[in-house]
């Protein structure tokens, strides 16, 4: 069952969420990008703006229409909600040699995520496997996930950096949302709404949304199909695990290391990268101590520091770790690939390194070797 939400009634959806006690997070234009941040009203949405992305490039452009969700994905991902860049785990205070430890209180605020793309839903599902479904669920993550509501937006356009179709993660959301919206601009600006949960159903009922008619539904489908057609980037993933494992000592790693800045941008923007560092701090007296958890990256030397130095000293070994983890060992660990094809790591790499091109290079070098043998 699909419903229809008039564009002019989008505010009502936000209001209903607010009335239900949700803090809203959604896209808005800030610092030359579209970012997810606290959303007050529809007026904050990046209406009439789009993004143009290429390897190492991201630019905002005016659209000729009034689309609210007429962009693809920006540098922030939703992982900031569930796995914040920095969070305090506990603090401890010493008095007369006795330490008392106080845990950081868990968040209580419900949040509604507005405008979650299909690839991002997959990214959340992937992080769930790491932080929610393992032997030790992360309490902060689990709490935030439990009190979050997801309003998905299906993609009706794609960026040149997108390759969700290769990863089977888009362009439309198929699970993991409370409501999903497909934005239609013609003939009238509206959304076709799909319900994905009882909470979503309740929202539809609160708003009293009418059913979407067949032409609307067909137009929504056409929009998604259009996005699918626009996707030109590919990553052949059926055999990529074996391909990378076979080529751990390939010269291509040196080649990519000559370009890689080991700046860690790819891991920071990646919606599935979950590595963190634990940092202990004190005040000057040493009587107050805290431990913080912050995003870390396998591109850092400190990351593999053991007595005597880092295990992964070269950029070559760090890029290899990242790519083989993302596309190969992630499968061994979590039964899924670690990549959702959102293209962030391609767009936000200052050197424009493209993982799909790297995978192709390995595959092609094997083909060349095969051909040379013949």
């Amino acid at each position: 069952m699909h419903y229809r939400l008039e564009a002019s009634d989008l505010e009502q959806l936000l209001d209903a969420l607010k009335a239900d006690g949700y803090a809203l997070l959604g896209p808005q234009r800030q610092d030359n990008a579209i970012l997810y941040d606290t959303l007050e009203s529809v007026a904050d949405l990046p209406q009439g703006w789009t993004d143009q992305q290429e390897a190492g490039q991201y630019k905002l452009k005016r659209r000729e229409d009034a689309a609210y969700f007429g962009y693809v994905v920006g540098p922030r991902s939703w992982k900031r909600v569930f796995l914040p860049p920095r969070k305090r785990l506990w603090s401890a205070t010493q008095q007369d040699g006795v330490w008392s430890i106080s845990e950081e209180p868990l968040p209580t605020q419900k949040v509604a995520l507005i405008g979650v793309r299909a690839c991002e839903i997959h990214a959340i599902a992937i992080q769930d496997r790491v932080l929610r479904e393992g032997p030790y669920p992360d309490p902060y993550y689990t709490t935030m996930r439990a009190q979050s509501l997801i309003i998905a937006v299906n993609c009706t356009q794609a960026a040149p950096t997108c390759f969700c179709t290769s990863m089977d993660t888009g362009p439309n959301a198929t699970f993991g949302f409370d409501l999903s919206l497909t934005e239609l601009l013609e003939p009238a600006h509206c959304f076709v709404v799909e319900v994905g949960s009882p909470k979503g159903q309740a929202l539809v009922e609160t708003l009293g949304l009418p059913a979407a008619n067949d032409p609307d539904q067909a137009r929504a489908q056409a929009g998604v199909d259009q996005a699918r057609k626009q996707i030109k980037r590919t990553l052949q993933r059926d055999d990529v695990k074996a391909l990378l494992y076979r080529n751990l000592e390939h010269a291509r790693w040196d080649e990519v290391a000559s370009r890689c800045l080991s700046c860690a941008n790819c891991t920071m923007v990646c919606p599935t990268c979950f590595c963190t560092e634990m940092e202990d701090i004190t005040d000057l007296t040493g009587d107050h101590a805290e431990r913080w958890q912050r995003w870390d990256s396998c591109f850092h030397g400190q990351f593999t520091h053991v007595h005597g130095g880092p295990v992964r000293q070269s950029t070559r070994s760090r890029y290899r770790q990242w790519l083989t983890h993302k596309l190969a060992s992630w499968e061994d660990q979590f039964g899924t690939t670690g990549c959702v094809g959102c293209g962030r790591c391609i767009a936000w790499c200052p050197a424009g390194i493209d993982l799909t091109a790297e995978v192709k290079a390995f595959r092609e070098s094997e083909h060349t070797q095969e051909n040379n043998k013949r």
């Binding site: 040493g286 200052p350 050197a351």
Partner: protein, 267 residues
């Protein structure tokens, strides 16, 4: 309570900016003063207590034969020696002389160059004595300074990560100026610590904290060229405040080689 550790602050060739960071710790200064005995800090107090000192903070680079002797004496008199700032850790802006003929310069600058007793190089403290910790920055970040002091007082490793400025941008959730604006930025090869100050104001990083661990300056320069930076821009970016730090020095030398043919063509 045992005696408070004695802190000394020493100045070599520098602008004093890093020492001032310590005075700038308005909120924390009381805590610092409570935790340590500021035994020698001419910039701040006339009180001078003899060594040995538990912690010496050393600002500035070594530029004269006299300074080269003085730092050895300070080292002998200090349990821990921490250098603060780009001058002390990489020679500073005055290390630009290292690329030129100092004799020629002094003859041009001074009426009586024979009175000038200076070394041919401005060198970091670590080239002269063992340094326990190098705090980067031009100037240093005062919060990092407090952290380093807290770490030494509490026998732990200072929490001064050696990753890129990019990580700081991303942890602060700042947008990359290089990717969105093609702004030349040294962030990807520069050590974090400043709080990604310049990118926060939509400017490129100037590399004040010097090269990060594993810097790929060659790729950085290529990237700048691709996005339209001129060779002299690249040259100047690397031959700056941290121009004598090895990775930046090598890159500026490579860039200089590329510049020379063009200069000759111009002639």
């Amino acid at each position: 309570m045992t005696q408070k550790p004695k802190l000394a602050v020493w100045k070599f060739a520098s602008c004093d900016g890093c020492q001032l960071s310590l005075l700038d710790c308005e909120d924390e200064l009381l805590a610092v003063a409570g935790a340590v005995d500021i035994a020698y800090f001419p910039e701040a107090t006339r009180r001078m207590v003899d060594g040995p000192y538990d912690v010496s903070l050393v600002e500035g680079s070594i530029t004269t034969p006299h300074d080269a002797e003085r730092i050895v004496a300070i080292r002998k008199n200090s349990k821990k020696l921490i250098t603060i700032g780009a001058c002390a850790t990489a020679g500073g802006i005055q290390a630009l002389r290292n690329f030129r003929d100092v004799k020629e310069w002094t003859s041009l600058v001074y009426a009586h160059p024979e009175y000038i007793d200076t070394l041919a190089h401005s060198s970091p403290i670590a080239e002269h004595v063992k340094v326990d910790f190098e705090l980067r920055g031009c100037p240093i970040n005062k919060m990092q300074l407090v952290e380093v002091l807290a770490a030494f007082l509490n026998q732990r490793k200072p929490l001064v990560p050696n990753h890129s400025v990019c990580v700081e941008c991303k942890l602060n959730e700042q947008v990359c100026v290089m990717v969105t604006q093609q702004t030349p930025c040294l962030g990807p090869v520069t050590q974090a610590g400043c709080g990604a100050l310049c990118p926060r104001y939509l400017r490129g990083c100037f590399g004040c904290f010097g090269p990060k661990e594993n810097p790929n300056t060659a790729s950085m320069a290529t990237q700048w060229r691709t996005s339209g930076a001129s060779e002299s821009q690249i040259f100047r970016a690397f031959r700056g405040i941290n121009g004598y730090a090895e990775a930046f020095r090598l890159e500026s030398e490579r860039s200089e080689q590329r510049l020379q043919p063009t200069e000759q063509e111009a002639k």
